[in-house]
Amino acid sequence: MTMANDFRGEPKEFAVVIPVPTVITRGQIHVADKALIDHLDAYSSPRLVEYFDEDPCRVMMYDRSMAPSAMGNAKAAREESRARSLGVTIEARYTVGEYDILILSATQSSGLETWLRENGYTIPPGASYVLGSYIRQNMKFFVAKVNLQEQAKLGFSYLRPIQVAYESPKFMLPIRLGTVNAAGAQELFVYALTRKGRVETTNYRTVKLPSDVDVPIYIREDFAPFYKALFNEQVRKEDMAAVFLEYAWDMNWCDPCAADPLSRDELKKLGVFWLAEENSGGAANAFLTRLHVRYDRAHFPEDLVFQETGDRQNFQARYVLHHAWEGTGDCEAARMYRRNLNERREREAHNVASLTGWKLGEIRKKMNLVANESPGEKKWWELW
């Protein structure tokens, strides 16, 4: 599991508390290079594909990725005896990279909450209920905060992703702690690298985002706001109760690729441990799933539970641009092409309106589209 945060604030204010199924040893924790996640993000982002119309009187393709970027949150232990009196056991204590990490177990939620508060963690009111249910399930707590001295020594100005490796049949992601004090909805991206196939949630609907839709050329300059509006609109349509699939692809190939495929070394760093045993030089047998979820307490009352399916169908959220042919040919096919062009543009405008909820009039304006008119076409009523 690799965790990356887009925490913006003073590093000393950063802390994470994550329930984990087992005690984690030093060797199971690693701090990864941020570029690794950035590459994975760029590789799997929703994207645009451009096509150029041919001269109709007798398709080149390239693509560019304009990805809206992806990636979301609270003093070292003073006295172990104090911890014990609160029913909290410090199972392990490590400094890995720029992080001070504690593995805690507890017997009661109020004790854990008190301990965390006394040790400088900002715990929102109501968190103890959530902590309590994890304690009853015998889960441990992975607590990390930034060690400022180590960070200064290492010279990083940003927080690197933390990696934890463990074996557990619990294929889930605890999100409940994060919903306790959040002011609004939170954004989460889940990248799953698996052997068998696509990953989906079993307790929430996993919905494929609309894909392969024709959109107007101007979206090339507006892709980030377009995709943001599209995602907002899809969340609204699903009543905010779904997890969205943005990408599902066999890592062996991509055609075309939004970014260079991940190297075997990068895959290994991300935890794809089975590469060496199965292919010692050939292609990577890894399947990447990228899920995007916007959640809050009202719509996502329980933690995300996943399953790996046998689905190896490739999917990516992509939107298609068609550049019009601007030649001056005057054959029958060219006349037909020009007649159909306005119709196509109108369809593209409607697609954007339906995907994003933007007003049709504004989309037409940006497209310089005069509704349903083809230059030089005779109107049907021009009979007399």
Partner: protein, 314 residues
């Protein structure tokens, strides 16, 4: 009281409506063409097995199995899904104990394939958790179980499952929104009202069915919350089905038969016609095909017999 129509026709209608809703509104990973193919193969397998075993061909149960597979089983390989359809229908003929098939056909087909290949899966989250939708399936399903006269197993299961989910959340100190969210699940309702309710594979006695429902719920909860496996109730139903012969031996009762509990609309119409045509006795075609010993119990015409339990009129 005898139901007016064969409950299987209600099931077929309800499952078809759910499949259309699933494909059109929820974008299930199954096409109309594939669904038609699965249905065709299931009915074809039924025709073939009926011929081999020399029994009358009836497509209704096979259609229900086919539709259930379309709703539940997912795979990239059409061949595997078609094999599931054949296993579902074939299991009714092959895996039998004292004249009764052991497994719910759809359930055994899904579990068998999930055991033997990683290339199939069931998506319990595919229905979402919309309360409206949960309500809709509950209504449709309620209709089916009432007609099938085996609603007790459904109600016993849902009561046990609710008790387990709510009890677990209370013990963990979780808010009630968590068990409610789990209960508002289309896959759970589909299982409760359309699969475990199958009157041919549940125990014969009411007490046996209650016990069976509670065991399936307990097993399902164990698989889901202790082993952390998906589709706990599907695995549990298959495992508990193996115990039905023992439950029947411990708690014996009269065997359920589709025909003796209502029959098809045509058979009902036929029996009505018989009763109208001066014969004062309600007699169904299934009764006509019973053994000579049994027919002696029926009294035909104005002949009075105090021993006849089925005589109507003078």
């Amino acid at each position: 009281m005898k139901p007016r129509f064969d409950p299987r026709l209600y099931q077929i209608t309800a499952l078809t409506a759910l499949l259309i809703y699933g494909i059109s509104a929820l974008h299930f990973d199954v096409t109309v063409a594939r669904s038609t193919l699965i249905l065709g193969v299931a009915i074809g397998a039924q025709a073939l097995c009926s011929r081999i075993w020399g029994v009358r061909f009836d497509p209704r149960s096979a259609a229900i199995s086919g539709l259930s597979l379309c709703l539940l089983l997912r795979s990239n390989s059409v061949v595997l899904v078609l094999i599931a359809a054949v296993i579902a229908v074939g299991s009714k003929f092959v895996i039998r104990w004292r004249g009764k098939h052991i497994f719910n056909p759809t359930n055994v087909a899904i579990v068998a394939l999930m055991l033997f290949t990683p290339r199939v899966w069931v998506s319990p989250g595919q229905w979402g958790n919309l309360a409206f939708f949960a309500f809709l399936i509950a209504c449709l399903g309620g209709l089916v179980v009432n007609r099938a006269a085996r609603s007790d197993v459904t109600y016993a299961f849902i009561a046990a499952w609710c008790a387990l989910l709510i009890g677990r959340s209370l013990w963990l100190g979780e808010p009630m929104t968590i068990p409610l969210h789990r209960l508002e699940n289309g896959a759970l309702l589909l299982f409760t009202f359309f699969m475990i309710s199958d009157p041919r594979t549940t125990p014969d006695s009411r007490a046996g069915r209650m016990l069976f429902a509670a065991m399936v719920a307990l097993g399902g909860a164990y698989i889901q919350f202790k082993l952390f496996r998906t589709n706990g109730i599907l695995w549990s139903l298959a495992a508990c089905s193996l115990l039905v012969p023992f439950i029947d031996a411990l708690l014996p009762a009269e065997r359920y038969s589709w025909n003796s509990h209502g029959g098809s609309p045509w058979s009902v119409a036929y029996s009505r016609l018989l009763s109208l045509s001066s014969a004062p006795l309600l007699r169904t075609p299934s009764a006509a095909s019973t053994s000579p010993k049994e027919t002696q119990r029926f009294s035909i015409g104005p002949h009075r017999s105090s021993s006849s339990a089925t005589q109507i009129g003078p």
